[in-house]
């Protein structure tokens, strides 16, 4: 039997708005994934350390304060430094459309903005898992 997919939902930065993060964490848990939620106000370093320690396959970042351009790429960069770039990083929050290309080129695999559904996020995770199993 395949190992259960482990997902870290994380709130980088100082932003305390975690209604969305909590919903995603609980929704993914109800969908059968193993989910760890960091709580708010995490540094990029602590998120990466938790991800590695918990051996997760995915990190979902949530940020509504506008600091995504600084903090999201930093997390991907730290994962690379730790040779953990196989962890898939995706993000969500109040993120203007025009910021999405640069976040993707920085290594974020997907960005979900307001109105995205749990179903879309699960489809994304499953398609990443599918690609992983092929490789």
């Amino acid at each position: 039997m395949a190992k259960r997919v482990r997902i870290l939902i994380a709130k980088p930065g100082l932003d305390g708005h975690d209604r969305g993060a909590k919903f995603i964490a609980r929704g993914l848990r109800d969908a059968g994934y193993e989910v760890i939620y960091t709580g708010i106000r995490q540094t990029p370093e602590s998120i990466v350390a938790t991800a590695i320690q918990e051996d997760v396959g995915f990190i979902g970042l949530s940020l509504l304060s506008g600091a995504h351009n600084e903090l999201f790429p930093r997390i991907v960069e730290l994962l690379r430094r730790e040779n953990a770039e196989d962890i898939v990083v995706f993000g969500g929050g109040i993120i203007p459309d025009e910021d999405i290309p640069q976040l993707k080129s920085a290594g974020l695999r997907a960005i979900f903005t307001p109105g995205a559904t749990l179903k879309q996020i699960i489809e994304f995770i499953e398609s990443c898992q599918h690609d992983r199993n092929l490789s």
């Binding site: 709130k11 100082l14 919903f23 989910v35 939620y37 960091t38 106000r41 540094t43 109040i94 109105g115």
Partner: protein, 561 residues
């Protein structure tokens, strides 16, 4: 004349109507699905309310007259026939200069009060050059590091004329100190200053997240500001007990009322415990609620909250003065109700929310801008939001008589229902040892998270409809211009901070900080005075909070899912 009104003929007629006319109609056309026929809080709505739902014999007890106990109908006798509510748009971004320009623009446009949004480093007591502040400086509000920034923020604004609301909690004492020192430099006497500090730490632990210290020392800071304001700033609201963020985090209207009142009870108890007299400080307590889309339930919520607070203050705390029993509140239209999709639709939503707040008897109002779900609002969106309030005030007619929905059978029934459901929560919290304990146990956070989860599932399953989001969806969304932050602001803020550090008298700063630390170690000292001294000497917000951190420790909490 009999004391009792005979409802029997009405009840008989209703029953007859139900069995014949209604039953006949239902046999031809079924009603919509159940979920859609409940309020947003899940209270089931009857098809129809009639006089038996609102017994006029209990009118004096349940509704009464505006400006009189139990204040259900409003806190002033004339309400908006005297003066409209204060139109107060929450604003702040980038540097103090930029925000000062936005404030002047809003005042020119007819806004009547200021409301300062601070950036997150300021809200959690960190200077702009702190490592954790990276990426956050000037983003969700203005960056304030020292008195210098506050001087710039308020330049040219007559502090004896405007009232200023500051959304600041954990470091509220420090920002208040900066404000009053700036007032001094304008030769404005402290006693005439009008405004509000949010200063509501308990909701930060459950909903908003900008806490610094653990609950006990945080409550002490609040006691200190209560005592200071009641003696020195008699026109200042020393707290704004906030349901807004609780609601926005996913709570229902009932939970919003219950948890806000539970927080308020905890603040009153802490002040009484410190030896303050209830009527000495209770007049400085104000409230802050969300105004959402379910118009009837929202109006009922405001009315129920006012009535409950009056009872709590009179019966539980023995308040004598009417001002202590009145719940004066600010409201803001719901941000969570807005959609990023088809954002112009938000103008209609905000109108609905604002109408609910006005019909609910708000004292001041912020209307959200249509682009709230995309970014910080642009100037023209802010203008539409403010104009929405002005249209309600001058054109709708709803401000021309007091509490116009009173006596609506459904609104009175919902007012009673919200009160009784919220009372059940208050009893539950009481049995857990009060709100501080209920928060520490995670109970409040779980209740909110459960409500948020249920609501979101209903949206995703299409059981609740949000136009443009899960129905009437457009595939082509027009691109729109949103406000972008000035990329140079971070460097500018750091340069200003280091300039202040270079120019100030370093020895005087160290001395003031040392005095603050020693006062913090003594429970009976009011920290406002040493904080004012630090501020005057241009100690930074981070330095002041740093001293307090070293004595009080820092709060951390696990995420409750």
């Amino acid at each position: 004349m009999s004391d009792q009104i005979d409802f029997e003929p009405i009840e008989t007629a209703r029953q007859q109507w139900q069995e014949t006319v209604l039953a006949d109609a239902l046999s031809k056309h079924a009603q919509r699905d159940e979920e859609g026929l409940r309020t947003a809080s899940g209270i089931p709505l009857q098809p129809l309310y009639d006089p038996s739902d609102d017994d006029p014999c209990t009118y004096l007890e349940r509704q009464g007259f505006p400006g009189c106990f139990p204040f259900t109908r409003g806190v002033q006798p004339t309400m908006y026939r005297g003066r409209y509510w204060t139109m107060r748009q929450y604003a702040g971004f980038g540097t103090a200069e930029q925000t000062n320009a936005r404030f002047r623009y809003l005042l020119e446009q007819g806004q009547t009060g200021l409301s300062v949004a601070f950036d997150l480093p300021t809200q959690v007591g960190l200077d702009s050059d702190h490592a954790l502040a990276q990426g956050e400086v000037g983003k969700v509000g203005v960056a304030i590091d020292t008195l210098r920034d506050m001087e710039t923020l308020l330049a040219g604004i007559p502090l004896d004329k405007v009232s200023t609301s500051m959304t600041i909690n954990a470091p509220a004492a420090v920002l208040l100190a900066m404000y009053i020192v700036v007032a001094e430099s304008q030769d404005v006497d402290w006693s005439v200053l009008r405004g509000t500090i949010q200063n509501d730490i308990l909701k930060e632990y459950v909903a908003r997240g900008t806490y610094i210290f653990p609950p006990d020392p945080s409550m002490r800071l609040i006691r200190n500001t209560f005592a200071f304001c009641s003696h020195r700033l008699p026109k200042w609201n020393s707290i704004s007990v906030s349901g807004y963020h609780i609601r926005e985090a996913g709570a229902t209207a009932v939970q919003e009322v219950a948890f806000t009142l539970a927080d308020a009870i905890a603040y009153v108890e802490t002040a009484l415990g410190a030896g303050l007299n209830v009527d000495e400080f209770a007049g400085g307590l104000s409230f802050f609620f969300s105004a959402g889309s379910d118009l009837l339930e929202e109006v009922a919520k405001f009315r129920a909250a006012r009535r409950m607070w009056a009872h709590i203050m009179k019966q539980r705390f023995g308040a004598q003065s009417a001002r202590s029993m009145t719940m004066r509140f600010h409201s803001q239209t719901s941000g969570a109700a807005l959609t990023a999709q088809q954002p112009d639709n938000n103008v209609a939503r905000v109108t609905l929310h604002a109408l609910a707040a006005v019909l609910g008897g708000t004292q001041s109002l912020h209307t959200n801008s249509r682009d709230e779900a995309l970014a910080l609002p642009s100037e023209d969106s802010v203008q539409i939001a403010l104009r929405t309030q002005q249209i309600l005030a001058h054109e709708s007619g709803v401000a021309n008589t007091v509490d116009p929905l009173a006596g609506s059978y459904v609104v009175e029934a919902l007012t009673d229902e919200i009160e009784s459901r919220a009372l059940r929560y208050l009893e539950q919290i009481e049995s857990m040892g009060g709100m501080v304990r209920a928060i520490e146990s995670g109970y409040v956070q779980r209740e909110i998270a459960d409500a948020a989860y249920t609501y979101q599932r209903q949206l995703e399953e299409g059981k609740r409809v949000v136009v443009g989001l899960n129905r009437y969806v457009s595939t082509q969304e027009p691109r729109r211009d949103i406000m972008r932050h000035d990329p140079g602001l971070y460097d500018a803020q750091l340069a200003r901070l280091s300039e202040v550090r270079f120019e100030r008298d370093e020895l005087a700063v160290l001395h003031a900080l040392r005095s603050l630390r020693s006062a913090a170690q003594q429970e009976d000292q009011n920290l406002m005075y040493p904080i004012i001294d630090c501020v005057r000497r241009y100690a930074t917000l981070g330095e002041i909070c740093g001293e307090l951190r070293s004595v009080f420790g820092e709060h951390t909490q696990q995420g409750v899912v």
